[in-house]
């Protein structure tokens, strides 16, 4: 199967999920992640609007308007699922019961600062639940394009946009490469076969170190 860019990123993010985990997915590319998990895997997907144990999208015509994810789109549930109010949903998050949160971002700094909620003067959507997820999930994975529409690097020395949360990002997966943030240092650990370290350096607006075991992603 030939994967498009978005699905390549989603597939790589799926590798961060292990059997038995509780996972929260943001809207956009993160919502493609479940398609890349083996069906034998037991994962409880959490939605901050009050579902633990989301399943696949319903078939057309089988949608239930009162069973939707946080983005407002219909979902189904798996055996063992539960419904709860919004305070319980965020209690799970703040208490560290969410193993992995996978979300999109506008910018990430080399220290792992996340800026994904506001473009002053332009777009002020509000933070929704991003601050809780960013600062309290056990592992925070960011899925985003390496550069913005103007071709500017979204990985930066210091975020110029207002922060969602400081030093919270553990892993950055872009359409070019995978970076890990360890002790406020950025490491390139993998890249797709379609690119090179030189090209990544050129497209990245800050310094980074090369991980000990730099891998090329096969798909």
């Amino acid at each position: 199967m030939i994967l498009d860019e978005r699905n390549k990123m989603a597939r790589r993010a799926a590798e961060e999920i292990a059997d038995g985990m509780v996972v929260n997915l943001g809207i956009g590319i993160p919502s493609l992640v479940p398609n890349h998990l083996p069906s034998s895997m037991n994962v409880m997907f959490q939605a901050e609007n009050g579902i633990l144990g989301m399943g696949a999208s319903p078939l057309s015509g089988k949608e239930d308007e009162n069973l939707c994810n946080a983005g407002g789109y219909p979902v189904t549930i798996v055996p063992g699922a539960s419904y709860f109010d919004s305070t319980t949903a965020f209690g799970m998050i703040r208490r560290g019961r969410v193993d992995v949160s996978i979300l999109g971002s506008l910018q990430v700094s080399r220290q792992g600062d996340l800026a994904n909620w506001i473009i002053p003067g332009k777009k002020i959507p509000g933070m929704g639940g991003a601050m809780e997820l960013a600062s309290k999930a056990k592992k925070l994975v960011v899925l985003m394009k390496h550069t913005d529409k103007a071709g500017k690097s979204k990985i930066v020395k210091e975020c110029t946009l207002p922060l969602t949360s400081k030093g919270c990002v553990d892993l950055i997966i872009t359409d070019l490469a995978v970076f890990q943030v360890v002790n406020k240092e950025l490491f390139l650990i993998e890249h797709y076969s379609s690119t090179t370290v030189e090209l990544i350096r050129e497209k990245t607006d800050c310094n980074f170190l090369i991980g000990n075991n730099l891998k090329t992603i096969a798909y």
Partner: protein, 233 residues
């Protein structure tokens, strides 16, 4: 319609309910992206031409969905919410200075609502403490060696919510993810109106499964259901 016994005088009509929703009030609403928002009460607010409202709830819906209908007609002067991104009209009104928006992180917002409903004054949280926009102007305090923001509780003149079933005492059960903020909003209103899909006889709801005890609900009205088109339709 089967004549419903009404021993607590809580079962009423949309028309009666709308007498409690007036210009300038602080109104708290249940729902998340319009899912679980009371469609009849929202339409009634528009029909009655309400103005200068302060609205408190998770988000501002979509321009044609949920509380978004009220917001996009410029009927609110202020909104306290976690997200307005799915309603571009709300963003436009805010940028034009016609709508004041107080953003609260989602988990913090709902705890503030719960605190109000539970008779507490505030909550302590570390969410947003390192964020200048969230922490701006808020009291901070140290407790057991940790730093916290003091986030004040929220209450409202009237709360409007949506539930699946109510009995004549106002005991409520919800439907799947349409529960979301409704049980919290239910508790935080000085007068709470529940618009419900079905009114069932007293004693027919299992007490173990009631989510909102009727003591928090002042009025129950029947709903005709959602009349907007969802984004996924």
């Amino acid at each position: 319609m089967i004549e419903q016994s009404n021993p607590f005088q809580k079962i009423s009509s949309l028309e009666q309910a709308l007498k409690h929703l007036k210009d300038g009030l602080t109104i708290m609403f249940g729902g998340f992206g319009g899912v679980g928002s009371p469609p009849g009460l929202i339409d009634g607010m528009i029909t009655n031409n309400l103005k200068n409202l302060t609205l408190i709830g998770n988000d501002t819906g979509f321009p044609h969905i949920g509380i978004g209908k009220v917001v996009s007609q410029g009927r609110a002067k202020k909104v306290i919410a976690s997200h307005i991104g799915s309603n571009p009209v709300a963003g436009k009104l805010m940028n034009e200075g016609l709508l004041e928006v107080e953003f609260s992180p989602q988990g913090t917002l709902v705890e503030r609502i719960r605190a109000g409903g539970m008779g507490l004054g505030a909550i302590l949280t570390d969410i947003g403490i390192d964020n200048e926009m969230v922490a701006y102007g808020k009291k901070q305090m140290q407790l057991n060696g940790k730093d916290y923001l003091v986030e004040p509780a929220l209450t409202a003149d009237v709360s409007i919510i949506y539930a699946k079933k109510a009995d004549p005492y106002g005991n409520l059960v919800y439907d799947k993810s349409a529960r979301n903020t409704n049980p919290l909003v239910a508790m935080a209103g000085r007068f709470t109106i529940a618009e419900v899909e079905e009114i069932v006889p007293l004693g027919s709801l299992n007490p173990e499964e009631i989510i909102t005890p009727g003591v928090f609900v002042d009025m129950v009205i029947p709903s005709n259901g959602v009349n907007w088109k969802w984004v996924w339709e």
